[in-house]
């Protein structure tokens, strides 16, 4: 019973990990004209200026839409940085 409880908890955590990263990564470009992607801390860390980082974030979010599966997930996270 204890093993099953732990297994269930781990599964829930996996689901939560997948869902929790959602808000930053979503760019609803097709439905509205609002870009939700924020400034990309990841881009700044590799030496981009603030403006470049923001543009990178927006461009990356658009580019991520063309990747299916796990790559698209990671791409969205990187874009949201």
């Amino acid at each position: 019973m204890k093993r099953k409880a732990v297994a269930f908890a781990v599964l829930l955590m996996l689901l939560a990990l997948i869902v929790v990263a959602q808000p930053g990564a979503v760019a609803n470009l097709s439905g509205s004209t609002a870009i939700h992607s924020g400034t990309s801390a990841w881009a700044y860390s590799v030496g981009m200026s603030r403006g470049e980082g923001l543009i990178y974030s927006i461009a990356a979010t658009v580019a991520c839409g063309s990747i299916s599966g796990p790559g698209g997930i990671a791409c969205g996270i990187v874009a949201a940085g």
């Binding site: 959602q22 981009m48 461009a59 796990p70």
Partner: protein, 227 residues
């Protein structure tokens, strides 16, 4: 250490037989690392080519708007980060399978390193898709945007929305995405053949676990994280 052509054909047409044969052998760490690594490299090449071309297509929008443009380095970085996520997915599928096995499995014990090896081997099924994706990326022509006569801020937004819509309807991208969905479904089928072989599970139970894994990683994940 390596997979022969016969092994590959067996994996393609009789995955359960292939995995049962592998179970009798010692765990091959080079194969366990090599196959996901090959997938990462192939995916990186395809994604980098797509991303460089897409970024080039967007460069016009940023240049006209007097915004800083992004060079190919940004696209390559994006492709690298995106590709490195694949080993994380393999680990996630592995952990989720163990949990589901505890919850609904037959309760038979099996070697976890062996299961991980079989799961890594199952990614061989993705190699044709990744190769095809590289070909599609090479043939991909980014959409050309016509300048719009709108106020500055609206222009940028409208141009990006138009570009995004054009990408969504591009044949190469549509093919790559839809083949991706089919390929990941196939990956889960092959992965479940590995689980079926090692856990001596039933077809129904393996099918149930496979469905949960597909929904978790490729349906919820995809619809949560992309557009």
């Amino acid at each position: 250490m390596f997979l022969s052509a016969k092994d590959m054909l067996t994996l393609l047409f009789e995955p359960t037989t292939f995995f049962r044969t592998r179970m009798a052998r010692k765990v091959s760490w080079p194969l366990m690392i090599g196959i996901p690594a090959a997938c990462v490299v192939l995916n990186f090449i395809g994604t980098a080519i797509f991303a460089v071309k897409e970024f080039r297509g967007m460069a016009g929008i940023f240049t006209v708007s007097q915004m800083p443009s992004i060079g190919p380095r940004g696209a390559v970085g994006l492709a690298a980060m995106s590709s490195l996520f694949y080993p994380v997915v393999i680990a996630g599928i592995f952990v989720a399978t163990i949990c589901l096995d505890v919850l609904v499995g037959a309760g038979r014990s099996f070697s976890l390193p062996k299961l991980l090896e079989l799961y890594c081997l199952a990614w061989v099924s993705q190699v044709p898709y990744f190769l095809l994706r590289v070909i599609l990326a090479v043939t991909f022509v980014p959409p050309q945007l016509l300048p719009l006569r709108l106020p500055f801020q609206q222009w940028v937004m409208d141009a990006l929305v138009s570009y995004n819509d054009a990408l969504a309807h591009n044949v190469a991208i549509l093919l790559a995405k839809n083949l991706g969905y089919a390929s990941y479904a196939w990956l889960i089928v092959v992965t479940m053949c590995a689980y079926y072989a090692i856990a001596r599970s039933t077809v129904v139970r393996s099918g149930f676990i496979g469905s949960v894994l597909y929904i978790l990683f490729f349906v919820i994940g995809q619809h949560t994280f992309s557009q």
